[in-house]
Symmetry: C2
Subunit: 917 residues, 2 copies
């Protein structure tokens, strides 16, 4: 029979760190801590398999679970020397979620399970703290009614009608009546009265009584945790993070220990190193006489854990190091042990109950990109980890943050801060302020840059946080929800800026008596925690000294090539600076967008609207010098690195001018009437231009256009070669779907090549001729296409458009709903749809190489910089990816990690095979 | 070594009828006739392999050919008792093309090879006919200079600058000088003078002398025939007919016999049955004292071969039966023998040289669709062929012609003919007259219906003939170029209407002094050969009594289902009449095109432009009754046969009204301003609507739209069931690309299904829920899609659009050039692109069935009625094809033939396998 329950916190510990998939991160690490003899309250983990079986079984617990739980509970009772439901010495437990990957705040927790009419007197007698017991009871009732009786039953609460809000209302009313401000100011009698009123209200609203039976409470708590896996928030988070639905969560049932049993009790959260900067300092927050949720929820501003890590905001607050030196020392040595053991920065939770330290959790800590890189390099230097591990330690998307802009220090010098807070997410951001997550989403959709300002954030705000360029909260610490989420995304964030009074309902905030309304502009320095009025200038991140070293390491272990997409000589230079090994996509038409000069665009229009081949050739001849100049400068900038030059791709009508004066000018040059030119423009109009007369289709119907471009390329290369400059043009024919198109265009290329050789009196110009694979049929016929191509470059944008039948310009009408309804897991234009479009790509690679074994294959769609897509490209055996210059380091890291991961898998597989022999 | 040369016409005959691929049709049949002891002039065939080797060898003859030809020539000399190049008894030969499939008039021929200064005196002495010898010499010089010295050298002649025109000009000048009208009126001296002048002119224009050496002439002739395989005309014809380039042509060198050696000589062309009607009468044409080209070229109106087949136009002319009764009898028995031997109607050519009959050619004769069917049924009845052969005897596209309209006989009764001619192509046609092939092509492109009127047609006119709905010529007989080509295509055609004076250069024709200009409308009755002024009414072809029997036979051997695409109850009835076994595509949106009433369209617009779900539902509720009524009537008409109902497919903006009054009306109903409604309409605009918000994407974002349609379907079916009427709706979800879309929509279907069951108080409604596979990704993920689909229906229009990235609305800009440059072999929207899109379809079928073994699979794209596509669908294992009602018989025949051909191949393979054992 399947084993569903694993004990920890005692000598009977069954689990270990490697069992994360089965026990969840929290459970596996609790077991591992027990193995390391680190003090943790006893408990047990109900597996993720059990969670899946629970859902498969129509939300009923699988058979056998009851017996296993009862057995494991016995062990906890022995370990803690208490008894669950016992009137004299009652054990209280918590029920917490714990998935394979951390999903902070996305699932449910129930604390203080076991408190009931029968056990309350005994606990009071034992703890001699009636107030504590009723405070705990009040918390249990609130949580339980909300989590187990309402949310787990699928009751959606909106507009504050939920039970939790109702109970909070009762408390607020009582506080008002008593004239007190804090919960802690309420008396024991007040709490007793609250508990009684709570239970009445629950019965009234939910229609069922709050259960007075410990076992009933326990099973309710376990079920609610499982069910929260499929709660709205958890599902939304999984979609964003790409976590599969079938992983499930484990449930951890653990003996309660209390940080709120007076001044010898405390609770805290800490990191073995600074998660924002990576500095090698023990870093954390604690609160005396408090429960864990008080630290995380941000309702009280927590104290610093030690003296070293104090900052401007908290230097006046007491550190644990000073307040409880002995316990701090024990905690310090435990965290050192844990980091050495796990060989990575740990995020730990602890509770001190009456001078005794309990570790509640250890897990690999989330960190900013900067911190991830700095830690990796530091740990490498101290030989805690090796080079390969260091490469694996930074998520490719985290590099994004290192490449993010920061607030211009010069601008900061001249500007006074309007507020200060904790530097929770690095970099800088400016934008218009909004006060609700919904507004953030809406405004962002309209193309605005927004800063989300909240008193504190909660999981319901996630979408709005994502839509914002920066987040500012008036409450909460470095481990508050806002800080955790923002750091996970590398987003600029300041928390705990207490001088800000946020009034969400009136859409304003007040700082020092000055009011800021929705739409006003502010600037955040998330690295320092400073808020400014108005828009301050942004500049590129100053080079992190570790960055160059880290990228060298990455390049050492990387096998997949990384090029950049660049359309101008300027872009080419930037690409080189970012470490590009070539240009994977140079779009000749970019020069026609009129950035430098209108002349090329005018000539292009003249060419397009020509009425005859002769007229067209006249315009092309004039255009030639511009095209050649542009190409030559780019080839020169790349100095012998390959430059893939795509021939004219977009539908011609895109360039037809709309305004009357331009039309008239063109008509004059062409010697025709404005009417006639309008007619010609109209004739070029297409119903579905994306599938119209473009790419190679233009080359076939207007061979003179191909000829002009190819001549420009060869002459540019030849002239560079003549002055001993290397040039490696790769001519790319776009939008092909048949070998015959390639043959047709290659005839032109060869003809022009020979003409240029003759003209320039040289024997050879290094070059390749290949094609963009962006039409599904080209993948299907890749074996044929490869006959006439030196290389393939997958154009995954168009391939995705055609493969899905999704017009990128028009998906706005339904993509949102598709993602919301989970019909698609991700926007296929952001990350390659490996299930579908991926098949076409694999087919293209395999068939192409079946004809030409060493066919050079790359990708130049925008997904070329997306880590998951890079990994896919590596796996299919491509030679390189190409992406925007700015994403080159990200692609490089993704490429290196894909290679290392594949090698590791291979090694493991080999090992296993050897073992079997 | 490869054998390149095969003899015939003697006891040393090597070839036979089965060797068509190697010897071409003509060569194989000449060999077969020799085997049957049918008199034919001796000769030999140079194989199609030799032709391919010739081209592979840079247009040089392969080694060894010279020796083989010389040897074969010796055999001919022995057989004919003459000697090639001999001064006393010279043998003359012809060099003719002969490909695997007949390509009438598309390749070259050289006659009278061997005539030269050395051989002319001997031939004169032998034939005692100096005039004949010089006339033959004149013909040789003309042909040779044109075909061998000019065309075979790739010299393109336009605007009458070619050598042939120049020589004809010399002859015309001489005729004018002599005051004579016909070539035959020229004297021997005239001819001698002509030959001399011709040779001077050739030297002057081409720069080379006309060769005076028989062997040189022979090799020139052989090479020219080979080269004509790659001539412009032949290539264009192959593209239209789908003949592969690598088949090559054979060259037949054959002893010349002369039908122009006086009144005891003659030449003719005949069919063993009437090729236009299928009547079992020996049918043909002949000319006394003439060469074969005179009959085919249409320069002289030929005589009828016998009394039985005389008609109004030729009853005054002498028949061969009367003029040469003995020869006729011999010919008659030979044609009987040939038909019995080949078990099919033969097209034969013969020449009578001084009272001796020679058969020059026999081949399976081209015929109209009507004739093909009538012959098949007649031959079946007389047991000449069996049922399967009968099914194979009619080309599916020939049925088209039987289903063509004819001129309404009632209209004809009341109208006087303006001209009469030979009924060369059946059916009726009316349209505007044009006088050049170019004009026909141009006008047809503009959407006009045209009748091409020519004096006579030639191979250069083929494209124009194709573009015309009917063809009318003033010259030529039933075997003239116009007649042959039109019949091959089943096109309405009248030839030899001698009373018409055609003046192409002035774009007019004159009949009885009355002038008809370009653009005037006439009507042709191609079945009777009558021309009318103005547009006469057309009606459906009267039922051929054989047709129903033939279709029964077809159905007997057919395994693939055939359905029709029908959008209205009326269409459904027509589909049933044409034998459809169900409806494969019922497009619900058709009712919104406002044919019956504007109400549904107005409501649809109201729905589309609604600003909220509530508004939208209001409009949908009103629309419901219209949709239900339409569906119910269609289900009722089909009486239990399956009806595949596609849910709303097109992008909504297609229905947004453009004109102001409609907009205002809508705005009033919706209670909003015209500005607002214009804005809503604009918001719906899409850049690439074909890949936009349509099909299932509408169903996902507007579930209420799906709900309304599904409710209409189920209520309609339930109400029919209640009154004991069968109904089998198959709900088809369009434009899907992911299983989740199907799951999303199926939830709605199931919900509504249960609601309708409850409302109608019934237990069950027979139905299927499936999807249209028309997005490439759906094919790639067909294994997943099949999980939630009862059936797949391939939408090959969209699949072709997305697979190629070709917008059907926009391919006009390049498709013509793609076909001209042979980049694509055919328009992929006409016939399935089996190479590319076919792979997606096969993938879809195989993957779909891998999940659901008995998944029902069909096709409902427009290619469903294209014979080659039907064959493909059969081969991939589909259950049915669906096409326009009118094409159902064609699809049925194609389906039956595909099945029989596959069974035959299987049998042959089995046989071969058994033999090998």
């Amino acid at each position: 029979m399947t084993k569903y329950v694993y004990s920890f916190g005692s000598k009977k510990t069954d689990g270990k760190a490697e069992m994360k998939n089965l026990l969840g991160g929290k459970g596996a690490n609790l077991a591992e801590m027990s193995r390391l003899n680190i003090p943790a309250p006893g408990g047990f983990t109900i597996t993720t398999d059990c969670c899946n079986d629970f859902f498969a079984n129509n939300s009923h617990f699988p058979p056998g679970l009851k017996q296993e739980v009862e057995k494991a509970l016995k062990i906890v009772e022995q370990e803690m020397d208490m008894k669950f439901g016992d009137p004299k010495n009652p054990l209280l437990v918590s029920s917490r979620s714990g998935a394979r990957m951390s999903m902070p705040g996305m699932m449910e927790t129930v604390l203080n399970i076991g408190l009931c009419t029968k056990t309350i007197p005994g606990l009071i007698k034992k703890t001699k703290n009636e107030r504590f017991v009723y405070d705990s009871y009040r918390r249990l009732i609130t949580m339980y009614s909300d989590v187990v009786m309402e949310k787990a039953e699928g009751i959606e609460t909106i507009d504050g009608s939920g039970i939790r809000n109702q109970l909070d209302g009762i408390m607020e009313k009582l506080k008002k009546k008593r004239g007190v401000k804090n919960d802690t100011d309420l008396t024991v009698e007040d709490l007793k009265q609250l508990c009684a009123e709570y239970k009445t209200q629950i019965k009234k609203i939910i229609g069922k009584p709050f259960p007075d039976n410990p076992m009933k409470q326990l099973w309710g708590g376990i079920g609610a945790v499982f069910k929260s896996w499929n709660g709205k928030r958890a599902k939304a988070y999984r979609r964003i993070e790409g976590i599969p639905d079938n992983w499930g969560t484990a449930t951890n049932v653990q003996a309660m220990v209390f940080g709120n049993m007076g001044d010898t009790s405390a609770t805290g959260v800490a990191f073995t190193r600074n998660p924002a900067t990576g500095d090698n300092n023990f870093y954390g927050e604690w609160l005396s006489n408090a429960q864990g949720e008080d630290v995380v929820a941000g309702t009280r501003t927590p104290n610093p854990i030690n003296e070293t890590t104090k900052n401007d905001q908290n230097e006046h607050l007491p550190s644990l190091e000073k307040a409880m030196p002995k316990i701090y020392k024990q905690l310090y040595s435990i965290q050192k042990k844990l980091e050495r053991h796990y060989k990575d920065m740990q995020d730990i939770e602890f509770t001190i109950q009456e001078d005794r330290l309990y570790m509640l959790q250890t897990r690999v800590g989330k960190r900013t990109g900067t911190a991830a890189m700095n830690m990796a390099m530091d740990m490498l230097k101290s030989r805690l980890i090796n080079e390969k591990t260091a490469v694996m330690r930074v998520r490719p998307d985290q590099l994004d943050e290192l490449l993010h802009p920061i607030v211009d220090p010069k601008a900061e010098e001249k500007t006074n801060a309007i507020a200060k807070g904790l530097p929770a997410g690095p970099g800088g951001a400016n934008g218009q302020i909004v006060f609700t997550a919904e507004a953030a989403v809406e405004w962002e959709k309209k193309g605005k840059t927004v800063i989300l300002v909240r008193e504190e954030t909660n999981p319901e705000d996630v979408a709005g946080m994502r839509a914002s360029s920066g987040i500012l909260t008036s409450r909460g610490g470095m481990t508050s929800h806002a800080a955790l989420v923002a750091r996970g995304w590398g987003k600029c964030c300041i928390v705990g800026a207490g001088m800000i009074q946020v009034n969400s309902s009136d859409k304003k905030m007040v700082i020092d008596g000055k009011t800021y309304k929705e739409g006003d502009v502010i600037t955040l320095n998330g690295t320092k925690g400073i808020v400014y009025k108005d828009r301050l200038n942004m500049i590129d991140a100053t080079e992190n000294p570790n960055f160059q070293d880290y990228m060298k390491l990455v390049d050492k272990y990387r096998k997949l090539g990384v090029r950049a997409n660049a359309d101008t000589p300027g872009d080419a230079k930037v690409a080189l600076e970012f470490g590009a090994e070539g240009i994977g996509l140079f779009r000749t038409e970019h020069m026609f967008y009129g950035e430098d000069s209108d002349a090329p665009l005018f000539l292009l229009r003249q060419m397009i609207l020509s009425g005859s081949v002769a007229e067209r050739k006249k315009a092309l001849n004039k255009l030639f010098k511009f095209v050649k100049k542009d190409i030559k400068a780019t080839l020169k900038a790349m100095n012998g690195k390959p430059v893939t030059i795509r021939l004219l791709d977009p539908p011609l009508h895109e360039f037809v001018p709309q305004d009357a004066s331009k039309l008239k000018e063109l008509a004059t040059v062409l010697g025709i009437s404005v009417n006639e030119i309008q007619k010609r423009g109209k004739d070029l109009h297409e119903v579905n231009p994306m599938m119209g007369h473009r790419g190679v289709r233009l080359g076939v119907t207007y061979p003179e256009v191909t000829e002009m471009q190819v001549r420009a390329i060869f002459e540019a290369a030849a002239e560079l070669n003549k002055v001993k400059k290397k040039a490696l043009p790769e001519i790319m024919i776009p939008v092909t779907s048949d070998l015959n198109e390639l043959i047709d265009q290659k005839q032109i290329v060869e003809k022009v090549y020979n003409e240029v050789l003759a003209k320039k009196k040289i024997r050879n110009i290094d070059h390749l001729v290949g094609t963009m694979i962006e039409i599904p049929r080209a993948c299907l016929l890749a074996d044929k296409m490869a006959q006439a191509a030196d290389f393939f470059s997958f154009g995954t944008n168009d391939l995705t458009q055609m493969g899905f039948g999704f017009s990128r310009d028009d998906i706005g009408g339904f993509l949102g709903e598709y993602l919301d309804k989970n019909i698609l897991k991700a926007d296929p234009f952001q990350t390659i749809d490996q299930d579908g479009i991926g098949q076409l790509i694999e087919m293209g690679v395999i068939k192409g190489r079946s004809t030409k074994k060493d066919l050079k294959i790359g990708i130049c769609g925008e997904q070329g910089g997306d880590p998951a897509s890079v990994e896919f490209c590596f796996r299919t055996g491509m030679n390189y990816v190409s992406c925007s210059p700015y994403r080159v380091p990200i692609a490089k890291l993704a490429a290196a990690q894909a290679g290392l991961a594949a090698a590791a898998t291979k090694k493991t597989t080999k090992k296993n095979r050897r073992r079997k022999k």
